[in-house]
């Protein structure tokens, strides 16, 4: 590839006399300024105008290649045709590039042609012949069984995605059987089938009856309405004919059980009815589905079972078998083969649950087990497991069967990580020590017993432990802080044994050991959460927090831990962190509940705005600390509503000053502008659209403009000096108050009694509805001080407006709740149900479903507002396909990732750099299909991200020239890393794509580097990193975890934004458009996801790529239309 770059450049240089240097430079300038379309046209015209000018053709083809344009292959074809016999090396390179592109799109015919061209030009490949040149597949196919009826019907009944093919059906089915198929029996110790399982079994029975009707041809055929077969078919389906054959005929249910199966399985009943009504023949293909079975059915069931029932029935009836099958399906083929040969099915079956949860990282290479820590840890693993890793399968067999899964879970947690943390944790003696801590004395129940993996904390700890420069783990504060926490914890002991041991701790390892020890507890593991949160904070700080600050943060974590994400928004002084805690405590001491809720709401809303402005760069980093301290100082002194209003107003002023706003600017408009995001002059249109949407929701929430509130306050001050009442101004507020309605006037008594509307919420809204400034001012006419106090009545409105601005900033796409429930913002409950003390806890969705609520609302603090809003809104998304449902837990995080980051300051070059990485990553896959050395390099990078099973699948597909299929298995985040690794490995080579990446880096080294791109196109990970700052961490995709479901998995998913950036680059959109389009594309992605289970991230990948294809198709159509119009 290196040679290609040099040759291509040489070719271009030599031909500049024809192509023209000024033309190339002009195109480059247009591209650099973001006008890619113009650059393209310049190059296109040059290429069209000179059909034999290799330089012009090369420049155009490479340009298209960089932007993943569908015309790339055509452009290279023209270049190839233009190259003369003497330009042999160039022809070789161009033909090879064409071959790679053909493989990427799966065009085998073209690949054969270009392979010939490559050979004809004298090119040689490392592998010859290529696998696609052979007629027969090189590898043996799997064994199959048949299940009755179409695949789609079975998948509908089994709740398996319609995207799952027959090769992958059984693992998906096995998972559903394990999680949904059986439940504890009330009458015996045995499991009993759930309704889900009963329906599948009934369906199979019905399908077999239909199969008989379908006859040898396996086609259900009804020739005419009066046919004798009609009655039989309808009987099986559970329907009967009402009316005579002909237009009056209607099909009615006669057997509800059968009819339910008919509909639920998607039998074409409407088509049958229509055929009978019109007396036309009806045909329905009812061929059985061939389903792949790993190792064939004989491995899984006994001959006795085989005689008694079909494989599918035995499979469905045995959840343990399903669990083992599921575990095996996660292994790479070689490892699975070795394990199968060493340990029989009967031996492994009781440990299927361990294999399922913790076997995914097992890998045998050359007969030896790959173990975390590599060769240096081999002896220690041998000692701990009792079998040497050199014995490959025997090692894993023993690992599976030891201590009910504790050691396997430890192995899994260590195998998932890379880098210095892995080095530290796998130091042999330390590794054993930590294992002993997590294993404990009593091993049962093991971590694989529950429905979700219960070793959540260990996975989080190993992923997030952060090492100092000296290789030791970071200890926030110092060891004394942690000893004290374990010994004198304010809320009681965490663990008696650890409390006793803590006094003897001497080094960081002791603390880490204790944290591992707590990982075995299925209940809340507070010290670990504290450790991770405070480590996260220190990781981002230029100077770590002082021990005293850490001590206080650790002790008050239970009460205020949800607020700690605030401290990661900027480099705060320890004093400001402590001031924050002081302020929260002083607010919590306010006795008047309504006032407390308003003060807490006002404070959190202001701090929320400060967070947004810090994150978006509106508040310069150097001033962030001072601004927060100023806000806290103001609010901490509040003792009544008048002071609250004044403090709120002062806070707005302070925020405006900190954001360098003009003093003459309207606070309302300026804040909205800041919330929309700071944009470049050319991006005003996009910014206006964001602002307009926020204003629409502001109106829908009947919030009162800040200008109006401040004007009223000033007017009350003027009244206290004896000025006349401004009726118009007062009426403006009165009119808005008149629009604030609780939907209770028309409710029946029963409804009112059944509602849990929220006592404090209702009182908050009622108190606003009772405000009558005119009458209050008349009553206070004689007392100037009393007149000034009236502005305290405006404090709840000010709170709601500021809280509302936070809501609007994070409003998910669609915003149906904010648009429809006019008191949604006002209903935010900062106190929670009596006794629950929600004020400083994470935001939660409360009161879904009627009649438990008068519309759901949010409660708690604003710290989790983005997630909670997305969670509340997710069920308004409409799945694009029947049966698919919106994926709770994952979807809110996807939405959050689309709403929190803003891309106003992203440059076209940054976006292009990301696009080039993904394009280069794809090319590396294609190269790997042609060159085994490339495959090895690719494996090295990919196995740091993907489990061995997937890595080997990708390698196998590449070895078979199935580049397109391999690409389907690789995420955009992984493509990005593949490119980054190749660029780092080969400093000069890589061809035009790599050359372009390096050129961009050289041009803007401050903006185009991996750290800057991480900030620009990363995702926020509030749970994983205690921060809303977007970043790329390049973690392995997490599995579902107890206590988090898919949330952590979603946070570790970094592909979306990278993919969207590359897509926007590809279709030449300006970066500012990302602010509008990423939320929209994300919503479409969510609506197209058709997942089978909670770890089905490939479904997210598929959906995202579908949306990308739609966008490309629309843009192509639009471009073609524009071209037609211009011609």
């Amino acid at each position: 590839m290196r040679a290609f770059g040099i040759i291509a450049l040489a070719a271009v240089a030599a031909a500049y006399t024809l192509f023209g240097q000024d033309l190339a430079e002009r195109a480059r300038q247009r591209e650099r300024s973001g006008d890619v379309q113009d650059a393209r046209q310049i190059l296109q015209r040059a290429a069209r105008g000179a059909a034999h000018d290799a330089a012009a053709l090369a420049a155009y083809a490479e340009f298209l290649d960089r932007y993943r344009d569908p015309g790339t292959r055509g452009a290279y074809e023209r270049l190839l045709a233009a190259l003369g016999p003497s330009e042999r090396e160039q022809r070789v390179r161009v033909a090879r590039r064409l071959l790679e592109l053909d493989l990427l799109v799966g065009d085998r015919a073209a690949a054969r042609k270009h392979l010939e061209a490559h050979r004809a030009a004298g090119g040689q490949l490392a592998v010859s012949p290529l696998p696609f040149e052979r007629d027969q597949p090189a590898t043996a196919g799997p064994s199959y069984i048949e299940i009755p009826g179409p695949l789609s019907s079975f998948e509908r009944m089994a709740a398996v995605s319609q995207d799952v093919g027959p090769e992958d059906l059984l693992p998906a089915l096995a998972r559903n059987v394990v999680t949904n198929g059986y439940q504890a029996s009330t009458s015996s110790e045995a499991l009993e089938p759930t309704e889900y399982m009963k329906l599948i079994q009934r369906y199979l029975s019905q399908a077999r009856e239909l199969e008989k009707l379908a006859g040898a041809e396996k086609v259900i055929r009804i020739d005419a309405c009066e046919s004798t077969k009609t009655g039989e078919l309808l009987r099986v389906l559970g329907y009967r004919i009402r009316g005579a054959c002909g237009s009056e005929l209607v099909l009615d249910t006669v057997n509800a059980t059968r009819a339910f199966l008919t509909l639920d399985a998607g039998f074409p009943l409407a088509e049958l009815e229509q055929a009978l009504r019109t007396n036309r023949p009806f045909e329905h293909d009812f061929k059985p589905t061939r389903v792949a079975v790993l190792y064939g059915p004989d491995y899984w069931i006994t001959s006795k079972e085989k005689q008694a029932a079909a494989f599918i029935d035995v499979f469905l009836s045995d959840p343990s078998l399903c669990r083992l099958y599921l575990g095996f399906s996660k292994l790479d083929r070689a490892t699975a083969d070795a394990l199968r040969e060493t340990a029989g099915m009967a031996r492994l079956k009781p440990f299927g649950h361990v294999l399922d949860f913790f076997g995914g990282m097992f890998e045998i290479r050359g007969g030896k087990a790959e173990v975390p820590g590599g060769a240096r840890c081999g002896p220690m693993w041998a000692e701990m497991v009792g079998v040497s890793p050199d014995q490959g399968a025997a090692f894993f067999e023993r690992l599976l069967t030891r201590d009910d899964g504790w050691m396997a879970s430890f192995f899994d947690a260590l195998a998932r990580i890379n880098g210095p943390a892995k080095e530290y944790l796998t130091q042999p003696e330390r590794m054993k020590r930590f294992y002993m801590a997590v294993r404990g004395r009593v091993t049962s129940p093991g971590p694989a017993r529950p429905v979700f993996r219960s070793n959540t904390d260990m996975l989080l700890l190993t992923t997030r432990v952060w090492l100092e420069a000296d290789g030791r783990p970071h200890v926030p504060g110092n060891l004394e802080v942690w000893k004290n926490l374990f010994i004198k914890h304010p809320h009681g002991k965490y663990d008696g044994r650890l409390t006793r041991a803590a006094s003897g701790w001497k080094e960081a390892d002791d603390l880490v050991e204790a944290l591992f020890g707590l990982c075995r507890k299925a209940v809340e593991n507070e010290p670990l959460k504290i450790y991770m949160a405070l480590s996260d904070l220190n990781r981002r700080r230029p100077k770590p927090l002082e021990p005293a600050t850490v001590d206080r943060l650790a002790r008050e974590y239970r009460a205020f831990g949800a607020q700690y994400t605030i401290f990661s928004e900027a480099a705060l002084a320890d004093a400001t962190v402590l001031q924050f805690l002081d302020t929260t405590q002083s607010i919590s001491r306010i006795g008047d509940q309504l006032l407390r809720a308003n003060v807490a709401g006002m404070m959190q809303a202001q701090v929320g705005l400060w967070q947004i402005f810090c994150r978006q760069g509106s508040i310069p980093p150097a001033e962030a600390d001072q601004a927060l301290a100023g806000l806290l100082t103001g609010i901490a002194k509040v003792r009544n509503s008048r002071e609250l209003f004044d403090s709120g107003r002062a806070g707005v002023k302070l925020l405006l000053a900190a954001t360098r706003s003009s003093e003459r600017a309207s606070p309302q408009d300026r804040l909205l502008e800041l919330l929309a995001g700071v944009s470049q002059p050319g991006d005003r249109e996009a910014q206006n659209q964001v602002t307009q949407e926020m204003m629409r929701l502001f109106e829908a929430q009947r919030l009162v403009r800040l200008d109006t509130l401040f004007e009223l306050a000033d007017h009350l001050e003027a009244l206290s000096r004896g000025e006349k009442l401004n009726t118009a101004l007062v009426n403006r507020l009165a009119a808005r108050i008149g629009e604030i309605q609780l939907p209770r006037a028309s409710l029946t008594s029963l409804e009112k009694n059944a509602l849990a509307y929220g006592y404090w919420t209702e009182r908050h809204i009622e108190s606003q509805r009772k405000v009558n400034l005119r009458s209050a001012s008349e009553r206070a006419a004689k007392d100037p001080e009393e007149m000034r106090d009236i502005r305290g009545q405006l404090a709840p409105f000010l709170r709601d407006t500021l809280v509302g601005l936070n809501y609007l900033h994070y409003a998910p796409p669609g915003g149906q709740i904010l648009q429809t429930n006019p008191v949604f913002v006002r209903s935010h409950d900062f106190l929670g149900v009596q006794g629950s003390q929600q004020t400083w806890r994470h935001t939660e969705v409360f009161g879904t479903g009627w009649p438990s609520s008068a519309g759901g609302r949010l409660e708690g603090s604003l710290s989790g507002l983005p997630y909670a809003l997305a969670e509340a809104e997710q069920n308004f998304m409409v799945p694009a396909r029947e049966q698919a449902l919106i994926w709770g837990d994952l979807v809110p995080q996807l939405i959050l990732s689309a709403k929190i980051p803003r891309w106003w300051n992203v440059t076209p070059a940054q976006m292009h750099w990301v696009g080039l990485h993904l394009r280069y990553g794809e090319s590396l896959l294609a190269e790997a299909a042609l060159d085994p050395r490339r495959r090895e390099q690719l494996q090295e990078t990919l196995e740091r991200q993907a489990a061995p099973g997937r890595t080997h699948l990708v390698l196998q597909l590449l070895a078979e020239s199935e580049v397109r299929a391999a690409l389907d298995q690789v995420t955009p985040a992984e493509l990005f890393l593949l490119a980054a690794a190749a660029l780092a490995r080969e400093k000069e080579a890589g061809g035009p794509l790599a050359g372009e990446i390096r050129r961009l880096e050289r041009e803007s080294p401050d903006r185009i580097n991996y750290a800057a791109i991480s900030r620009a196109f990363g995702t926020p990970k509030p749970t994983l990193t205690t921060s809303y700052q977007p970043e790329l961490l390049h973690l392995r995709t997490f599995p579902t975890l107890m206590g988090f479901s898919s949330r952590i998995m979603a946070e570790s998913w970094e592909s979306n934004t990278l993919y969207w950036a590359a897509l926007a680059d590809e279709v030449h959109l300006p970066p500012a458009q990302l602010n509008l389009l990423i939320p929209e594309w994300t919503q479409k992605t969510v609506e197209k996801i058709f997942a089978t289970h909670l770890e089905d991230w490939p479904a997210v990948l598929r959906s995202m790529r579908l949306v990308g294809e739609d966008v490309r198709a629309k843009m192509r159509e639009q471009t073609a239309g524009e071209q037609r119009a211009s011609e």
Binding site: T253, T748, L750, I817, G849, W850, P851, N875, V878, E882
Partner: protein, 330 residues
């Protein structure tokens, strides 16, 4: 004429300046659109009264008499009502001045756009197949001029069949519905109303559910407000006993009566068929008037009154939505 079509597309709304701002600031106003009023007239025995003409009605908004712009009865073609009270066939804008774009055709104003929202949640598991039969019957029996969409819902909405005049498509979509999961009735009803609001012409939403809702974020009365403001009558066919879930029953009564629709309790399949028959009859016998609101300072709820002028003895009963709120806009 073009304006009429566009305004009908927008649905309801009228009003005045809400808050004027200075300079470049955006201005919030309420939209001055055409208001659509769909209603039925029954005699003292509850029988539908048909054959009434535009001149038989007096239309009031907050007591202010309004001039009727268009008039339609059942599925008959829409007529334009002229200044002198005479009528002439409504000519669609595309026929008058054909233009590309999403302008509605004259056809859009003939017949009713019926949106059926079918509860396929776990709560409907037992009666799922019978409900499907009843809905299929209803779809088959709709007037040829009517269009129908079939939506289903559990935790999420599913657009099983988009608005179509092809009955087979609608029934095909219905028969592919899948049962199961939580019920978010009011969320889904809201989304259905939002879809219906985008369609020109007369529309109704028919909900087929047994009532429980355990997943909605939106309260029934917020949804009812949207239906009122958009002028979309809601019909509910509940498969539950009226007394079994009195809270849902009260909600169903309220949201249907306030939008000019009706609620039915039909536990058996036969009752469901009868309920659908009744809805169909109501659609066939309903009148639709449109008007541009006269100047009205009221920015809140505006009461709509439809009177039958000829009914001096006041024996006839008009069932219409009680009013609407003008929509704010940027």
């Amino acid at each position: 004429m073009k304006a009429i079509a566009r305004l009908m597309m927008l649905g309801a709304g009228a009003g005045a300046l809400l808050s004027a701002q200075e300079g470049q600031r955006p201005v919030f106003r309420v939209k001055v659109d055409m208001v659509v009023v769909t209603f039925t007239v029954t005699d003292s025995k509850g029988r539908y009264v048909s054959g009434l003409k535009p001149g038989d009605f007096r239309l009031l908004e907050d007591g202010i008499v309004q001039r009727i712009a268009t008039f339609a009865e059942g599925s008959k073609p829409v007529v334009q009502v002229l200044e002198d009270g005479s009528t002439r066939p409504f000519i669609s804008p595309d026929r008058a001045a054909p233009k590309p774009g999403p302008e509605p055709s004259a056809d859009a104003f003939v017949g009713t756009n019926v949106f059926i929202l079918f509860d396929t949640s776990n709560y409907m598991y037992r009666g799922f197949v019978y409900a499907s039969d009843a809905i299929a019957d209803f779809v088959r029996g709709l007037d040829r001029a009517d269009s129908v969409a079939v939506y289903t819902f559990s935790r999420n909405l599913s657009r099983a069949a988009q608005l179509t005049r092809e009955r087979n498509n609608a029934i095909g979509g219905l028969r592919k519905a899948v049962a199961g999961d939580d019920a978010a009735l009011y969320n889904s009803l809201l989304l259905t109303l939002r879809d219906a609001a985008k369609v020109p012409g007369r529309k109704v939403v028919i909900v087929f559910s047994n009532g429980p809702d355990n997943a909605s974020m939106i309260a029934p009365d917020d949804v009812r407000t949207v239906a009122e403001d958009e002028g979309i009558p809601l019909y509910v066919i509940s498969t539950n006993d009226v007394n079994k879930d009195p809270i849902s029953s009260a909600v169903f009564r309220r949201i249907t009566s306030r939008t000019g629709g009706q609620a039915y309790w039909a536990k058996t399949w036969q009752k469901q068929v009868e309920a659908f028959e009744s809805v169909r009859e109501a659609l066939g016998n309903s009148y639709t008037l449109t008007y541009y609101p006269q100047p009205n300072p009221n920015e809140g709820f505006r009461k709509i009154g439809v009177e039958v002028i000829s009914d001096v003895a006041r024996k006839l009963r008009v069932r219409a939505r009680p009013g609407y709120r003008p929509r704010p806009g940027v």
